[in-house]
Amino acid sequence: MSKSYLSIEKVFKSFSRGGVTSQVLSDINLQVERGQYISIIGHSGCGKSTVLNIVAGLLDASSGVVILDGKEVSGPGPDRSLVFQNHSLLPWLTVYENVQIAVDKVFGRSKSRSERDEWIRHNLNMVHMGHALDKRPGEISGGMKQRVGIARALAMQPKVLLLDEPFGALDALTRAHLQDEVMRIQAELHNTVIMITHDVDEAVLLSDRIVMMTNGPSAAIGEILDIDLPRPRDRIALAEDPKYNQYRQAVLRFLYEKQRKKATA
């Protein structure tokens, strides 16, 4: 039995299409403590997003269970809020309304109207989007959209925050900026976070643990690396830090030596 806050136990996943069954995930086991920041890293197509979607409840595992805070996960719910790579804001709603739709649904009974309004503004201020409440997603930049996506996810007060390559679609400068923001918010709120990424620096900088996945088909967890760097972390100072570079090399070695992507077309 697990004692962890979130535990993924013996999860297998296979997809069947037209009589052909392909094994995607094979025996995924992972224990996550409350307040931990976990990154899952691996080559594209290795099934890391599938892991996240199973935790989110958007996909069902073929076998195995996900247990969050003592309860088995079945189906999606606001206790596991997702930040999607392509932000997935509703384009016909303003920034405020995009967060409001989540807050009204989750806290519609427990908070009064003015409390909800304050909570929406609080979360948008936290990601520095308080100035653009009435803008529509089409009128703001990609980085700003992702901020709103993060605000929407945080506003649900999830037990675990799931980030699916949240910075993947952003340019390098915006990405660094948002990574710092996420670290700051994480330090403040102590969220439990699982982040999918393919960026080694991002993984080492943000995480407490890095889960490295082997290549598919039938991907499994290859290695788990504990990142023992003091917080708050500073990206410039860390660039000189030998420990940081060791971690970085460990991940790179796993990805590019042990799990080198086979030259498939």
Binding site: G77, S88, L90, W92, P137, G138
Partner: protein, 287 residues
């Protein structure tokens, strides 16, 4: 062409309210020059050719000047009412518009409803789509005898013809719109655990709105096409029967005037729905 002038002027006005008066006038002048001059010039040319072709005494059709002088009474007094079918053009058109309003409104409600059903449920799509594909090819007027037999009355029959004409593009476009809702929006709804009604109102309708409105726009055009034909057969007050009546009385000029009115009203209906669509779908396609 009058309506064209009006619409262009209206759409130009909000653009220029923010700027100062001289700039406003200059812009209106430029817009007028760009957008109004070509259609006016072509219309004048067209009238001129028509005049030349039809001015010989042997011509079967009247030239524009004669149309104008023949129908001046009708143009000048659109609201006269001598009882029975002998009413002004405005009343004729309003009677037709009323039928279209009823039939179209029913088609919108039923069409969006069925479109949602077909778009949401694979089973409903497999069952209903082949039937829709066959029925939508039936010409509007072919429904008229059947509806006359069913309703035993001309007015509901005409309304039914409008309904059955307008509903197919609305159903088909709505269902395509529903099927094309991005997976991300569905996932957002699932994470938030939106219930059926919340999903319908907050995600489905706004996401599918651009498709729904293109269906509505085709539908209103078809309705207006069908009403003229249907009214020719069912009689009573209405622009369609007015045309048929004028033909029987050999009032060719009246027919020409009625056609101009039908065209203008159809154009306005189309623009109204397009405008409503722009208003409602504001932002939907951005992202």
């Amino acid at each position: 062409m009058n309506a064209n002038v009006k619409i262009e002027a209206e759409s130009a006005a909000p653009l220029s309210t923010a700027s100062r008066v001289p700039a406003w006038m200059a812009r209106l002048g430029r817009v007028g020059l760009h957008n109004l001059l070509p259609p006016i010039a072509i219309t004048l040319l067209f009238l001129l050719v028509w005049e030349m072709l039809c001015s010989s005494p042997a011509s079967a059709l009247p030239p524009p000047t004669q149309v104008f002088s023949d129908t001046w009474e009708l143009i000048a007094n659109p609201f006269y009412d001598n009882g029975g079918n002998d009413v002004g053009m405005a009343w004729q058109i309003l009677a037709s518009l009323e039928r279209v309003a009823y039939g179209y409104a029913l088609a919108v409600v039923a069409g969006v409803g069925l479109g949602v059903l077909v778009g949401q449920s694979t089973w409903a799509m497999r069952g209903l789509d082949p039937i829709f594909q066959v029925l939508r090819t039936v010409p509007p007027l072919a429904w008229l005898p059947l509806s006359l037999a069913g309703f035993q009355d001309s007015n509901p029959s005409a309304i039914f013809v409008i309904f059955i004409t307008a509903i197919w593009p609305i159903i088909i476009n709505t269902s395509v719109g529903i099927r094309n809702i991005p997976e991300d929006y569905r996932n957002v709804a699932r994470v938030l655990r939106l219930n059926g009604i919340e999903y319908f109102v907050k995600i489905m309708l706004p996401a599918a709105a651009p498709y729904i409105f293109s269906g509505l726009r085709i539908g209103v055009g078809l309705s207006w096409l069908a009403i003229v034909a249907a009214e020719m057969l069912v009689g009573g007050v209405g622009i369609g029967f007015f045309i048929w009546d004028a033909w029987n009385a050999s009032l060719i000029s009246d027919i020409v005037l009625a056609l101009v009115y039908v065209g203008i009203v159809g154009f306005i209906l189309d623009r109204l729905v397009a405008w409503a669509g722009r208003l409602v779908t504001r932002g939907t396609s951005e992202g």
